[in-house]
């Protein structure tokens, strides 16, 4: 039954001309020529720019990174993916209007340390978890 189903699905995929080039609900509208796979991008969060240096003593900013890019079937190139994501990506191919594309999200995060003043001018040193993207994946 599985073999038959797989064959049927493959036929369906083959019958969808340019299906992976059709826009999903999260597509950017730029077409396939500008597509980029899900990966980690540079992002520096500057506390000075945010006007927070009144209370934050250190650091002045930190490399937070962010995840962006597309998760398109097949997801073999993307290591941090779940079985569910693979299935959802496949179903999205067949029903792009109903099932959304898999999201490119952080899969591994690390902490930073922050030193700041509280309202009473006491000084606090805190380890903030999940602040830096270490790896991205399709989930």
């Amino acid at each position: 039954t599985a073999r038959l189903l797989k064959k049927k699905q493959l036929n369906q995929i083959n019958r969808l001309p340019h299906s992976n080039k059709q826009l999903g609900i999260f597509d950017d509208g730029h077409g396939s020529h500008s597509r980029e796979f899900c990966r980690r991008h540079e992002l520096y969060v500057n506390f000075r720019d945010l006007g927070w240096l009144d209370s934050v003593i250190a650091p002045q900013g930190y490399s937070a990174y962010y995840c962006a890019g597309e998760c398109i079937y097949p997801l073999n190139y993307c290591t941090n993916t779940t079985n569910h994501a693979t299935m959802q990506a496949l179903v999205h191919l067949m029903k792009p209007d109903i099932v959304p594309k898999v999201c490119c999200v952080p899969t591994e995060l690390s902490a930073i340390s922050m030193l700041y003043y509280d309202k009473n001018s006491n000084v606090i040193l805190r380890r903030e978890r999940n602040m830096v993207v270490q790896a991205c994946g399709c989930q």
Binding site: D28, V56, I57, Y117, I124
Partner: protein, 242 residues
């Protein structure tokens, strides 16, 4: 903050933020990070004529925490702590004038800012000692007690915390372990911590802490006494729905 970096090759769907939205978002992120918003009137650190002792110590801790060289942390409690707070000494009382014995110095700290749900792993009282010549080159015993209860007509109830022995000529930061008092703070919800410091000479005579070279609130900002608490977070902050 990444405006100067090259943009990714695709464009995210964008919308214009409402009038109050940027402020709400800033507040939400600050809350998530535990940032209190603008602190009370305080000269900025860089503009202060002389940095205060607690921020200087905390900055050293920060550098030790973020140092990747693997040189080893000078603070044994650092690795197990998620949150480290310094407390400024708000009230200092002396019974060191005249010939009344025993002499002591009392320090009070406001602990109301400790976030709920934090478990204390360690606490230290730090006081700077200058070399003392009265008496010259002798051994001093410095003991620390927690003021458990104060009475109008008799001496306060005290709880022993730590004892350090040093020479009168010694100079530097003296660290007294006050972790044992932390159980009391959590059990009794007593947020006003009173600590009493006694100095004795080797022959058992009480000595004025000031004469022993221990600096109090009147000292230069970089040498004023303070308290440090090490806490372990019991849960990660929950992001409030917006």
């Amino acid at each position: 903050g990444g405006g100067h970096l090259p943009r990714p090759p695709h464009v995210f769907p964008q919308r214009r933020l409402g009038v109050g939205e940027p402020r709400d978002m800033q507040r939400e992120i600050q809350e998530m990070l535990g940032l209190p918003g603008r602190p009370r009137s305080r000269a900025p650190l860089a503009a202060a004529q002389q940095p205060a002792s607690a921020p200087l110590f905390m900055l050293d801790l920060y550098h030790a925490m973020t140092d990747d060289s693997g040189g080893g942390s000078p603070q044994p409690h650092l690795n197990s702590a998620d949150l480290i707070m310094s407390f400024v000494n708000i009230v200092e009382r002396d019974r060191s004038l005249g010939y009344q014995e025993p002499h002591w110095k009392e320090f009070h700290f406001d602990l109301t800012q400790i976030p709920a749900g934090e478990a204390v792993t360690a606490a230290e009282f730090r006081i700077y000692k200058e070399p003392s010549i009265h008496p010259l080159n002798t051994t001093l015993h410095i003991s620390m007690f927690e003021v458990v209860q104060e009475h109008a007509n008799r001496e306060s109830d005290l709880f022993f915390l730590d004892l350090q022995t040093l020479r009168s000529a010694d100079e530097g930061w003296l660290v007294l372990d006050i972790t044992a008092a932390s159980d009391q703070w959590l059990l009794t919800q007593n947020k006003d911590l009173g600590l009493r410091l006694y100095v004795e000479t080797e022959d058992g005579h009480s000595m004025d802490p000031g004469l022993a070279g221990l600096l109090g609130q009147q000292a230069p900002r970089s040498r004023q006494p303070f308290m440090v608490g090490f806490f372990r977070a019991s849960r990660s902050p929950v992001r409030a729905p917006r």
